[in-house]
């Protein structure tokens, strides 16, 4: 219990809540007419009790509850509304589920349906739309209207907390509104009335069939409206909502009640009148006649009290007719209703509601996979998804000529070749490439330097004698984290590790003792991964260098198993190592059999043979191998090997999906190739630099 609430206050609050509920016209009607089955009264009392307990237990200060614009309270407030919706729906839920709204809608929509035989098809559709739009309106307004009730209850609660009972007293003083509706009109609650009703309908069917539907509606409407006015004249509504609600900063102007607004609501009222005129024709589809009359009565209030009440009554009606008893189902149903109403009349309408710009923005932010699936939604989405699709580009293969300064660049996805004249590279040998930067070595001067072929930017490094040893860098030289690393074995148990960074004046060389024998490989089986340099020895042992701690260790990971029938000649050349997204891959190739791919299982410290690469593509090269994901077309799940220009081919690929080389294997003897002939390099942003 809320400590702030005295016994007296609690009693007062309970009474107040009951009073509010008793003045809840729709609920009263529901109770009086036992829409919620025979124990409706009991159920409504339960509702009051439930509400009281809810308030009494509430730990939150009610003033803050009222502050709708405050984000968390907004939710609380929403929950409150929902709660009340649910509670009332639960307590008024009826066991008879035969006249469900869904069924009704289906019947209205069914073109061959017999329930509206008087109306021509087009009008029936119109009618269905009107009906649906009103339902929707009702769903939208319902929480707002209930919100006003909640507010009233909250004010009351707050007063009780402070020991003032003014609003309760006020409530007591005002007479309970007299909710009445025309029993005469609803007299066919009983079985005999039903039969009469059906007959009437049949008559209507016969005569009305000849009339054009429009005229019939027009004729019917004023007549019905008149009757409505007479019937509903005594209905009264205690109104917490006569004054606009002012809730911290924004006011909900209860527009439906002002006279001016009535004009603008004319159309709505006409719709309702139209609906009403035709509700007589709905009768057949409602299995339960007294519920139908309840329905009719709802509309009798329309012209007196404005649409909100009507909508609310209609809502109660919906809830009464709905079979679902648990709260979740109701919430779902509400949403479904809304969706069905909006979706069914014209699906294309909704779709075109999403303007191209918005769709472009959304689709462009999807991952490649999601983008591709989105393109299968419909033709419009296909066009937009394709236009904004962001696939990764594969690296290009850069060829180093034997003579001259003309360098060839090959784009494997387009199978196109471009040329660049790069005299800066004259006399130098390519060592490594990453992120669009080449690491080059000029043997004559022992000059080591970075070069970007697209921007022609050149960054010099301290010189170092690089024999045929492996060398790599961690990041682009423009990045502060760029570290260069090279290792060579001095003896099987001692390696010399040299490191450097752009801007340094010299290389740092340290000798390390190996726990395990490590003979560095000639070709680059060297990657930078998770801040560490990993390199594979000639026999497949894994050496790891930590540039932060300057430590070197040969890991006890058993070397990847070389398949038995792998050709012995030049076998050390047919091994490649690549890194992607913290995964390390090793590729074994030979001229006789298909390549084998291993991935390092870093937790279990073993090399695992890969059956498939999934969305990954490997680009193998003697100097620097790379991996890519999200490539389009046939490049996925492939290994691309840089290749001597052999019968005009720039590179060959091996597809893991198909288990074959493209072009089909002729004689891929990797050992015969010049390792300094080509390197994979990041593709350029644009083609402006090329000849």
């Amino acid at each position: 219990m809320n400590p702030g609430l005295t016994a007296e206050a609690a009693a007062q609050l309970h009474e107040g809540i009951n009073l509010v509920i008793s003045r809840w016209a729709a609920l009263r009607m529901a109770v009086e007419n036992e829409w919620g089955s025979r124990d409706s009264l009991q159920k409504s009392q339960q509702l009051g009790h439930h509400l009281f307990r809810r308030f009494a237990q509430s730990k939150v200060k009610v003033r803050t509850l009222l502050d709708v614009s405050c984000p968390c309270n907004y939710n609380v407030f929403e929950t409150f509304r929902e709660r009340i919706c649910l509670t009332s729906s639960c307590s008024l839920n009826t066991e008879i589920g035969d006249g469900s709204i869904e069924e009704l809608k289906l019947k209205i929509k069914s073109p061959s349906g017999t329930m509206l035989p008087v109306l021509a098809c087009s009008t029936r559709m119109q009618l269905a739309q009107i009906y649906l739009s009103i339902l929707e309106q009702c769903v939208i307004e319902m929480p707002e209207w209930l919100g006003s009730k909640v507010e009233k209850l909250m004010v009351m609660h707050e007063e009780c907390l402070e020991g003032i009972f003014e609003s309760i007293k006020r409530l007591k003083k005002t007479n309970a509104p007299n909710i009445s509706y025309n029993r005469q009109a609803g007299s066919n609650h009983d079985g005999s009335g039903n039969d009469n009703d059906d007959d009437e309908d049949d008559n209507n069917d016969d005569t009305g069939g000849d009339n054009s539907p429009e005229t019939e509606m027009e004729v019917d409407a004023p007549d019905c409206q008149l009757r409505l006015n007479q019937q509903g004249s005594t209905a009264n509504e205690p109104s917490p909502k006569q004054a606009p609600k002012v809730v911290d900063g924004w006011t909900v102007v209860a527009s439906r009640h002002s006279r001016e607004e009535k004009k603008s609501n004319l159309l709505r009222q006409q719709n309702i009148t139209l609906l009403f005129s035709s509700t007589f024709n709905f009768k057949k589809c409602l299995a339960c006649k007294n519920r139908f009359w309840a329905f009719v009565t709802l509309y009798t209030h329309v012209n007196n009290n404005g649409t909100i009440i009507c909508c609310y009554f209609l809502f109660i009606f919906i809830m009464v007719t709905f079979k679902q008893s648990d709260g979740c189902r109701l919430a779902e149903t509400l949403q479904d209703n809304k969706r069905v109403q909006r979706g069914q009349p014209d699906e294309q309408q909704i779709q075109s509601d999403l303007p191209t710009e918005l769709l472009e923005l959304i689709l462009s932010q999807l991952s490649l996979r999601d983008n591709i699936r989105a393109s299968a939604v419909c033709k419009r989405w296909l066009n937009i998804a394709t236009s904004v699709r962001m696939a990764n580009k594969p690296p290009w293969l850069m060829f180093f000529p034997k003579f001259g300064d003309l360098y060839e660049f090959y784009d494997p996805s387009q199978r196109k070749t471009y040329w660049l004249e790069l005299p800066e590279l004259n006399g130098s040998r390519i060592c490594y490439a990453k992120e669009g930067w080449l690491l080059l070595y000029k043997p004559r001067t022992q000059r080591v330097f970075f070069f970007c072929p697209y921007t022609r930017e050149l960054i010099d490094l301290p010189s170092l004698e690089l024999t045929y040893q492996i060398v790599a860098f961690s990041a682009a030289p423009t990045s502060p984290s760029c570290i260069l690393f090279t290792v060579k074995h001095v003896s099987p148990t001692v390696v010399a590790v040299s490191t450097c960074h752009p801007g340094a004046t010299e290389w740092t060389t340290v000798n390390y003792q190996n726990r395990l024998p490590f003979v560095s490989s000639i070709w680059n089986k060297l990657v930078f991964c998770r801040g560490l340099f990993y390199c594979l020895s000639l026999t497949g042992w894994l050496g790891v260098y930590d540039p932060q701690k300057s430590t070197w260790a040969v890991h006890s990971v058993p070397p990847p198993k070389c398949p038995e029938n792998f050709f012995v000649k030049n076998w050390w050349k047919g091994k490649f190592m690549a890194e992607h997204n913290e995964d390390i891959f090793v590729i074994y190739t030979c001229s006789a059999v298909n390549p084998v791919i291993y991935k390092l299982d870093q937790t279990n410290k073993v090399w695992v043979e890969m059956e498939t690469l999934g969305g990954t593509t490997l680009f193998a090269n003697f100097l620097s191998s790379h991996a890519r994901t999200d490539l389009l077309g046939t490049m996925r799940n492939n290994v691309f090997f840089s290749k001597v220009r052999f019968y005009g081919k720039r590179c060959v690929s091996y597809s893991l999906d198909n288990g074959r080389y493209y072009p089909r294997k002729q004689c891929y003897d990797w050992g015969e190739q010049d390792p300094f002939e080509s390197v994979w390099i990041e593709p350029p942003e644009d083609l402006s630099a090329f000849l």
């Binding site: 939208i140 900063g249 924004w250 699936r373």
Partner: protein
């Protein structure tokens, strides 16, 4: 015209709110609902700001492309972001909570409203939310959620699926 001028110690919140109310304007949704909003909050929408500057904000600003439910949400957002005391962290938290309860169709409505009213932050956040919602969902789910009917022939759809079979691997089941 910052209300805080009247509130030097920054403690008393009530006069601030009232101050705002005095310079409120009314926004009218497509379905005729009217909402009052402080000028400072409304000014976060570039579109409304322009309308105010053009002095067509004398009385009621009609927003024929925004329905009442959506407008109420937008106003809730604007009010929070115009709040004097709210820190960026508060706002971020609010945005998270504000958007997390919305269904895709509601999000689309809010995104459209955000676009129409030119509220950058809201528009961007909502789009991001929609994008996250579409993550790893099936084509059928997307169609259902966005209420789109496929206009592909069975062959055309099959063609796309065949060409990009990998994009269909490991997609969430529609149940959730």
């Amino acid at each position: 015209m910052a209300p805080k001028n009247k509130n030097p110690n920054g403690e008393n919140v009530v006069p601030e709110v009232q101050q705002k109310k005095t310079q409120a304007l009314i926004l009218k949704s497509s379905d005729g609902e009217e909402f009052s909003i402080s000028k400072s909050a409304a000014g976060l929408s570039v579109a409304i700001k322009n309308m105010m500057e053009d002095d067509c904000a004398g009385g009621v600003i009609p927003l024929p492309l925004v329905d009442g439910g959506t407008l109420a949400r937008v106003i809730t957002y604007l009010n929070k972001h115009a709040e004097d005391g709210a820190s960026d962290e508060d706002k971020r938290k609010f945005d998270e909570e504000f958007l997390s309860g919305m269904e895709v169709d509601v999000l689309c409505d809010v995104a459209l409203a955000g676009n129409y009213l030119d509220i950058r932050g809201l528009f961007h956040d909502v789009c991001q939310r929609i994008v996250n919602g579409m993550k790893n969902k099936s084509v059928e789910w997307v169609r259902k959620t966005f209420r789109i009917e496929s206009d592909f022939t069975a062959e055309e759809e099959e063609q796309i699926k065949k060409e990009y079979a990998w994009a269909w691997e490991g997609v969430d089941s529609d149940a959730d």
